[in-house]
Symmetry: C2
Subunit: 360 residues, 2 copies
């Protein structure tokens, strides 16, 4: 028997706003009075170009993006950028600082090492990625062209509360908290985010890049992944993933209707707060991340009685709570509560957690 | 007023089978009894992994793919592969032969030159890409590791009738005629195809690669684009464009229901035949491509009275015939008649062309 309501806590591809899916469903065969689906349209048609431009403007509005920044859309996910960022921004002999605070920043640094010189300025693996050390302790390389960090670690549930204050241009992987809160662009050189958390379905990456950086990019990158080329051609040089872009455009409109990123931040803070409170007040669930750096997007926790984990996950699934299994490198439970997850979903999870604890 | 039926001759993103769009629409919010959309599912969920495997098997069945080949799915389009193929298969000092028969093979060679040594074995630009010279005249480099060609040129409407017989492993861009006819895999080392013609929406590329080639790939490629990594991780190492992959899986099922690639070839030959016949018998329309190499997928033609072209395109659009404007580098008219275009669409175009000619 199917439970009445399904709540999808998948880390990504993740839940999308119901309104967005309903609109996509309604106009799947006939978009914009064109008589064809948006996914059957040429990316060079005036209609698709208008959609692309409007999506960019909506994103610019949502972020209150300074004019110094350009928005690029590119195919694929953020992992590709782990290589393409150093390839675009560095020559092979040049150096960048990387801060390792979890699985994704570790992967980013390991991949970047294959294409440039990487200095690990800080690494919290020995702390089981449970906190972020003070910037004053980081070992920055004065020659480094940028400092890379991951603003939210989906696997380890660690999130920067504010951007680190270093005298170095920042390159930030915001894949999992992009659009979940306003961004202070001071010190930022480049932000990138895979779509499948807060933007839309998988297959698209958004890049925000300072325009003055475009002139300094290298030419050792495949043309379709070159930031100056993407900028010059308005991200339409080669065929982009048009349907994913279209869905992202609907998500941007939805975010505007919700009231923008300040409203989303308040909602996200509230959802995270009641969930962490449930964990902290229980005798069964535990989260060891330094409260200051607890993720508002991916709430991870363990069961003190570890052998109950399979039962917890199985019963949760039966109760309509999907995608709660932790990432394979971390284990435990992970509840991803991105923008599209309403507070009712978090409340349903809390209710289930409390009942599960009472019944064991 | 909207015409009753719309026929979409867009070169790509292109028309999709109506049955496929209807199924996608029906299950857009609730897929496979999961209570969520397929685009909200983790790519590592057993359900998505099963979809991915079944799609591969269906493709293997359709192509009658020899066991020596592996199927890879990767994000983005075929243009990315213009760089990623030489990066995967060649060291910078190694050489490959390229045959230039139109816009896309020219682009492929120009991009490959940035990453390896490229020998242009033949180039038909001086013939306005209107034919393909005999293989015996090609200037092959004995040291070349492979020979690259584009089996169908969408811009110039030129298509290889059979694979060239050279004593060299073949690397083939089949983006625009993949799945339109059976493939003879003799001599083939790698085939690649962007999705947005005959596979599904834009954002996905299919690669068929000989397994013995995987061990010889270089390590100078970003990890997510490395063929051995894609193979090892069943193309799920990083988050793939899951919704596009899902739609491709529906297209493969649709092709099976149609009777397979032999049936598609017969239909495609018939559609092309009646359209070229109309052109050849008219006093207004002209196609100068050597009949042996005329594309069955992209029928290009010009109006002998060139100044009538805007009127032709405008009236066609009013008659519900979309996407007929030729590519900007070629101009004229282009009717793309991929698998999803039924003969009725081609008949409607023919009727319009004949009436237009009578009425001027």
């Amino acid at each position: 028997m199917q439970p009445q309501t399904i709540w999808n806590f998948s880390a990504g591809p993740a839940m999308l706003p119901q309104e967005v899916l309903l609109q996509a469903q309604k106009e799947l065969l006939i978009w914009n009075n064109m008589g064809v689906s948006v996914m059957e349209m040429s990316h060079r048609s005036p209609e698709f170009e208008a959609l692309a431009e409007e999506a960019k403007q909506d994103l610019r509005d949502l972020l209150n993006l300074p004019d110094e920044f350009e928005i690029l859309f590119t195919a694929g996910g953020a992992q590709a950028q782990f290589a393409l960022i150093p390839m675009n921004l560095l020559q092979a002999e040049e150096v960048a600082d990387y801060v390792i605070t979890g699985n994704w920043s570790q992967k980013a640094a390991n991949e970047a090492k294959r294409f440039a010189q990487i200095n690990v300025a800080a690494d919290t693996e020995s702390l089981h990625f449970s906190s972020i050390p003070d910037v004053s302790t980081w070992k920055l390389n004065p020659a480094a062209k940028y400092l890379h960090y991951v603003s939210n670690e989906t696997v380890h549930g660690v999130q920067f509360d504010v951007a680190p204050q270093v005298n170095k241009p920042l390159v930030v992987d915001m894949s999992s908290d992009f659009l979940s809160r306003p961004v202070n662009f001071s010190g930022i050189e480049l932000i990138y985010a895979g779509a499948q958390k807060n933007i839309g379905p998988a297959g698209l990456t958004v890049i925000l890049i300072r325009k003055d950086l475009l002139a300094k990019c290298t030419e050792r990158v495949p043309a379709v992944f070159s930031y100056p080329t993407l900028e010059k051609e308005s991200s339409l040089a080669n065929t982009p993933p048009t349907f994913v872009w279209y869905l992202a455009s609907l998500v941007f409109k939805w975010l505007k209707r919700q009231g923008g990123l300040q409203v989303m931040q308040e909602r996200n803070q509230h959802k995270a707060k009641i969930l962490y409170q449930t964990i902290d007040e229980s005798n069964l669930y535990v989260n060891k991340v330094d409260p200051r750096y607890r993720s508002k997007m991916n709430v991870i926790f363990d069961l003190k009685k570890e052998d109950l984990l399979p039962q917890f996950l199985a019963e949760a699934k039966l109760a309509g709570l999907l995608g709660l299994k932790g990432h394979k490198v971390r284990g435990g439970v992970r509840a991803s509560i991105y923008n599209a997850m309403p507070v009712e979903g978090v409340q349903a999870l809390i209710k289930f957690m409390q009942e599960f604890e009472q019944n064991i």
